[in-house]
């Protein structure tokens, strides 16, 4: 641990720290452009120059390039260093356009800050500025090359960190150009990070362009709700509209970056069809009357049919506190425990994951530092994009990736792929754990596992199911030892699936609820941010059940199918409009803070005019309430989040850390479960000769919130069916042929895509919301299906 002196202050830093970081530890502000915590130093910008007075190196040095060593005496304030830094700033400003007033980066521009700090204010250079032609980088990123200061951050982020290959640096000397090598949109699903990383206004957020100034935005620390990883995000809102999302920093989870689904999926909050007023049979009514009506209806039904005629449905979309209060409401009404999740198989898988002794679970930080990643039945880019990025970092650090998956899983790094049938996965995991009777094709996997020092087993609950998830956890437990830690990471379907499953315990699942609805016992259903009509794989039976209900109440912020059918609809807030806690797939509780208050965006109420011409004493569309607050009121509890968290922590020992949680910091793991995973019976494999249909999630279009986000529309895929090349050849199908898919009593005509990397005998369709493919459900065993080429007349 070297100790050095910077500006007459002594600091001791870990071996390998550079002087810039050491100075930052002392709270000294060091100007820099090319250095970034996540990207490291490259020594291109030359603005972190310091004067090294004593020690192993002397003279003016770039502090980011010098490793801190004992005996160094460094000055950031030496006149030579100050003069040199301002010289570099002046250089960088020679070519930079003076367009701050119309630049989106204004106010959060590092170049602006550094220029002001360096004191450069008068232009001495009289030559011409160099100018460039910009590129159309697609729907997310606006390009303005004239502002570029050549710090190389974008290239290092895009190519090195994110694994993109279509964007980079071109040209040399004064004509350096950062852009795509050929026309077209940026291909990487992490391209949005360029907005955060660019220290000036070259790469800015296109959907957010010219909407707000940074200082006008309402911002707060939040958690991304678009998958189960729970990345830190900082949403920004203005004029009652969520306008953008930027990456937050959580070293344990996402690090400094987020994916484009998380960045551009925010627009569901502003959706024009969003429920904004309580509705009873389609009639608007005030909140007080709505709550009264709900209570009255419920007590009526309880009086008439008994308390077990009321069913409660929570979800992995709702916060931990709301889900808990739903259970609390049930206890007060004397109903059965709530069902958490409208998709029974997914719910059971999530519960199997929750049951793990949590110390086995890996954070994304641990994935990044792992040396072997076995990805068993997970498609990280679709089910948790930032996991794919974490895997890439492991590979960059010398790690190895092996995939066992029926799908042609793509990763932004090299990986060894072993196609297999989905139902084989649990058995593969059991064999791998036992280490005996290995089939030849598994030998490399087992060998790699043997040699790895920090392996992580990665799975996706949709493909593994409860049985596979339990097998994966058991395998990790078996392979884990004090000397050789083996960790797991299983992707779950929703942002708070872990929290909901944890609260569910051994309560009923949706299949039981369907049975009870069939039998006519259930008279009323209260849905908390759940949409069973879209998510339950047995829609026909559910519809029949709903027909028999006397009362359907829905609390939600999405214009969902179930919400449209509700007798009583209570509008709730989206994540950014409230506070609460989400538990991510590794069991990390993360609190999120309220960014802004709900209301109908000025963009809609003002009909495009500015400033608004209509004034009222109330805020339009401001009625949505936080679900936990509504439920607390129904329970007769004080509307106080801290108190609810304390109560929940007392009741659920695994959530003991909840009361101390704050939106700042990396969150807190739930305590380990007893690990005595209820043995899940192996599914009986049905020997079937016909093709099997596997339904999968995709990066865009499958996740319910981002599917409603307009900025993502241009990148949402159109429906297609994916066939193994050999199967397609057998069926006489070529790429882009129109084929007829018959499965589950449905017939669809879809264009065919072919892959040589997927397992044989399978047909894959993506579950795309709002398309004909919405009626196929992921997280289910494959369906027998038939595929035929549509003969064109």
């Amino acid at each position: 641990m070297p100790t050095l002196i910077i500006d007459n202050q002594s600091v001791t830093v870990p071996e390998g720290t550079n002087v810039l970081e050491a100075a930052q530890q002392l709270g000294i502000v060091v100007p820099h452009f090319c250095y970034h915590e996540a990207l490291g130093a490259v020594g291109a910008c030359r603005v972190c120059a310091m004067l090294f007075i004593d020690g192993p190196v002397k003279g003016m040095q770039m502090s980011c390039m010098v490793e801190a060593k004992d005996g160094m005496v460094v000055s950031t304030e030496a006149p030579e260093a100050v003069a040199y830094r301002s010289q570099v700033i002046e250089w960088l400003m020679l070519n930079h356009p003076h367009d701050c007033p119309v630049c989106d980066e204004g106010g959060e521009c590092q170049l602006q800050d550094m220029t002001v700090a360096s004191g450069h204010s008068v232009r001495r250079y009289s030559g011409k500025k160099r100018t460039y032609q910009n590129q159309d980088l697609g729907p997310f990123i606006a390009h303005e090359m004239n502002r570029c200061i050549q710090c190389y951050r974008c290239v290092r982020t895009y190519q090195d960190y994110c694994g993109g290959t279509d964007y980079g640096v071109l040209g040399a000397n004064q004509r350096l150009y950062f852009g795509r090598f050929r026309d077209g949109p940026l291909e990487s699903p992490f391209a949005g990070n360029l907005v955060d990383i660019c220290p000036t206004g070259v790469l800015t957020n296109k959907p957010y362009r010219f909407t707000s100034r940074f200082w006008d935005l309402q911002e707060a620390l939040s958690v991304c709700p678009h998958c189960s990883l729970g990345c830190a995000v900082i949403p920004g809102a203005r004029f009652r509209e969520l306008q953008r999302v930027r990456a937050g920093v959580n070293p344990e989870v996402n690090g400094w970056f987020i994916c484009d689904r998380g960045r551009f999926g925010y627009d569901y909050v502003n959706h024009p069809d969003r429920p904004r007023t309580p509705l009873l049979h389609g009639e608007e009514l005030p909140w007080s009357e709505a709550l009264e009506a709900l209570q009255q209806r419920l007590s009526e039904l309880i009086d008439r049919h008994g308390s077990d005629s009321i069913a409660l449905l929570g979800s992995g979309r709702a916060s931990l506190e709301s889900n808990y209060l739903l259970r609390r409401l049930g206890e007060q009404l004397g109903t059965a425990a709530p069902v958490y999740g409208s998709h029974a198989a997914r719910d059971r898988a999530a519960r199997a994951v929750t049951d793990l002794a949590a110390k086995l679970s890996a954070s994304l930080a641990e994935v990044r530092s792992s040396d072997l990643l076995l990805v068993m039945g997970a498609d990280p880019l679709a089910e948790g994009p930032m996991l794919a990025l974490a895997i890439r970092q492991a590979v960059r650090n010398g790690g190895r990736v092996m995939l066992c998956d029926p799908r042609p899983v793509e990763l932004p790094c090299s990986a060894e792929h072993l196609p297999c049938q989905p139902q084989e996965l649990p058995q593969l995991l059991r064999i791998l754990a036992a280490g005996e009777n290995l089939p030849a094709n598994l030998q490399p996997l087992a060998d790699a596992l043997q040699q790895a020092k920090r392996p992580v087993l990665i799975g996706g609950s949709d493909l593994l199911g409860a049985e596979g998830s339990a097998a994966l956890l058991a395998a990790a437990q078996k392979l884990n030892s004090a000397e050789r830690p083996c960790r797991t990471m299983i992707l779950l379907p929703e942002t708070n699936s872990f929290g909901a499953a944890l609260l569910a315990g051994d309560g009923p699942d949706f299949d039981q609820l369907l049975n009870d609805m069939d039998s006519g016992r259930i008279k009323a259903l209260l849905c908390l941010e759940a949409d069973p009509l879209t998510d339950c794989p047995d829609r026909k039976r559910l519809l029949q059940g709903l027909e028999q209900l006397e009362f359907l109440a829905v609390l939600d912020h999405l214009p969902s199918l179930t919400a449209k059918k509700a007798d009583l609809l209570l509008p709730t807030t989206a994540v950014a409009e409230g506070a609460g806690t989400l538990v991510n797939n590794e069991g990390r509780m993360q609190a999120f803070a309220q960014v802004f208050s709900p209301g109908e965006p000025l963009r809609f109420t003002g009909q495009g005019g500015h400033p608004p011409r209509n004034f009222s004493s109330t805020t339009p569309g401001a009625l949505p309430c936080q679900a936990w607050a509504v439920l607390a009121e129904l329970c007769g509890l004080p509307v106080n989040l801290a108190e609810i968290r304390r109560e929940l922590a007392a009741k659920e020992p695994r959530l003991a850390g909840l009361p101390e949680l704050s939106a700042e910091g990396p969150g807190q793991r739930v305590l380990p479960g007893n690990g005595a995973s209820s043995s899940v019976p192996p599914a009986v494999a049905t020997a079937d000769e016909s093709l099997q249909l596997l339904v999968c999630e995709t990066l865009y279009g499958s996740e319910p919130l981002s599917a409603l986000s307009a900025p993502l529309d241009p990148v949402c895929p159109h429906p297609y069916v994916l066939l193994q090349e050999l199967d397609a050849a057998r069926l006489g199908i070529a790429a882009d042929d129109l084929v007829q898919l018959t499965a589950g009593g449905q017939q669809l005509a879809l264009p065919a895509r072919l892959s040589s990397r997927m397992a044989e005998g399978l047909v894959i369709v993506p579950r795309l919301r709002g398309t004909e493919l919405e009626s196929f459900y992921p997280g289910q065993p494959p369906l027998p299906c038939r595929v035929e080429k549509v003969s064109t007349p």
Partner: protein, 488 residues
């Protein structure tokens, strides 16, 4: 090649053997050194021998070769590499080309020796694609060496294996810098990165790599055969052996020379080079290519080795020597070299990317007569700043031509800045063509040849040049039969 005062070690075979015939090389003692290393020496002894010989890198920086090999040998790794840097990019320099075209086997042999010393089994020659003949001869040489078992999995039956492949450079000057070169071979953009780690620790594909220049390698077989003591007896105190220079420019005997280190500039220019042609006065010599500096008539007795050149704000470089006579304008020369480095800057770091342009613009204003004393001072400060703070060797040495000419020829700069005159008569904007009234006969020849019709006057009367219109093409001066037109 004038043999006087010369001693040929690196170029010992060039011109004497058939470069496309391995037997010819073997007859001249070739591959004996490799045989001796493999059968009689351990890698440790071999490295000690090279260290003892005092051989320093001939690519420019002059790092002791034995020490470099020692570093690469000490890092354990399953795979190591030897890279031969044949990306000779300095304008007017072709030492490496002469060796590769005239004696390719000596380089192959030396690479195998280096491989044996550090424990590498693979070698790569990074050669610029503009050397087709060298590439052709290297290919022939590699094939022949493979046939003879002098390259391949089991060299001379000793169990030591070494294979060489050729990679082409696309002519970027910065790719001669070792880190940029490695990135280029790996298929990346040829951009330098900051050392450490040095290539000896983590180079090509992050494996320990020894990177040597062609000329350095060509010395190795001779050292092995004749011994380190013999080699270290040649040369100066700090630099042993010989150096190949390519002597070009305003010099009578143009060509390659190989001389012992420590020889004086006077011996090179006058004894070997035969002085400037046409009896013109010797003014300066640019060494080290565009990254180097100038040695002047005042430095004629400076011994040529790494340290003495550095003391004159120049560098040894790869060995280009461009001789200038009294007709050269030093400001113009600096501008020429700066233009080269500015264009070859990769653009990665700010001082090199932006600073080079500013330096160039400042020099241009001087040659146009638009500069001031304050700007000249700023030019010098800026040049020093860039030298101290640029990322790689290219940027750090880029201001050398300016700094070294300022050292001796500040008067020329001042003449441009203060008097708006170019003493050598090179900078057009500072020239004036003037008709001497006493000599002009009014023959009208000049008016006919002037492309812009700026000369006026009646037949048989003295003519006048309109200075505002004159484009200083010099056509009238050449045409005048009476020497009535002068430039000043």
């Amino acid at each position: 090649m004038a043999e006087k005062k010369q001693l040929r070690i690196a170029t010992r075979n060039s011109g004497f053997i058939d470069p496309e015939n391995i037997d010819s090389y073997i007859a001249a003692g070739g591959y004996q050194a490799l045989g001796k290393c493999l059968t009689e020496m351990t890698p440790g002894e071999l490295i000690e021998e090279i260290k003892k010989s005092g051989l320093r890198g001939r690519g420019g920086a002059g790092f002791p070769t034995g020490v470099k090999w020692g570093f690469a040998a000490q890092y354990p790794s399953d795979v190591k590499y030897v890279i031969c840097n044949a990306d000779e990019g300095d304008p007017g320099a072709y030492m490496d080309r002469a060796v590769l075209e005239g004696d390719p086997h000596s380089v192959l042999e030396a690479m195998a020796i280096a491989g044996y010393a550090i424990g590498a089994g693979q070698g790569t020659i990074y050669i610029r694609a503009e050397y087709p003949l060298a590439i052709k001869r290297l290919r022939i040489a590699i094939a022949q060496a493979q046939d003879y078992g002098l390259q391949g999995p089991d060299i001379l039956g000793t169990g030591f294996g070494f294979e060489i492949e050729i990679k082409y450079g696309a002519g970027a000057f910065v790719c001669g810098e070792e880190t940029a070169l490695i990135r280029s071979i790996e298929g990346n953009r040829g951009e330098p990165y900051t050392k450490p780690p040095f290539p000896a620790e983590a180079g090509y594909w992050d494996k320990p790599t020894v990177l040597n220049n062609v000329e350095t390698l060509a010395n190795i077989p001779a050292i092995i055969l004749k011994g380190a003591d013999w080699y270290s007896s040649i040369g100066s105190e700090t630099a042993k052996g010989t150096k190949v220079f390519s002597l070009v420019g305003k010099i009578t005997n143009v060509g390659l020379i190989e001389v012992p280190m420590g020889i004086t500039l006077r011996e090179i220019v006058f004894d070997i080079g035969g002085g400037c042609p046409g009896g013109k006065k010797f003014k300066a010599v640019q060494t080290g290519g565009p990254s180097g500096g100038v040695l002047t008539y005042k430095d004629l007795d400076v011994p040529i080795d790494y340290e003495h050149l550095a003391a004159c704000e120049s560098i040894m470089g790869s060995g280009g020597m461009i001789v200038m006579d009294e007709d050269a304008c030093m400001v113009d020369i600096s501008k020429f070299f700066l233009n080269f480095t500015m264009e070859e800057s990769c653009g990665k770091c700010a001082p090199c990317r932006i600073g080079s342009k500013r330096l160039f613009e400042a020099l241009e204003r001087i040659t146009l007569g638009h500069s001031s004393l304050a700007e000249l001072e700023r030019l010098e400060t800026l040049a020093r700043q860039i030298k101290d703070t640029a990322l790689c060797g290219l940027g750090q040495t880029m201001p050398n031509p300016i700094l070294s000419t300022l050292r001796v020829f500040k008067d020329e700069y001042l003449a441009h800045v203060l008097d708006k005159k170019c003493p050598a008569g090179v900078c057009k904007n500072l020239l004036e063509f003037y008709i001497l009234a006493e000599k002009c006969t009014g023959c009208t020849l000049c008016t006919k040849v002037c492309p812009v019709d700026c000369i006026s006057g009646q037949v048989k009367y003295c003519h006048v040049i309109d200075q505002d219109l004159c484009i200083k093409c010099g056509a009238c001066l050449e045409k005048c039969k009476f020497d009535a037109i002068v430039k000043r």
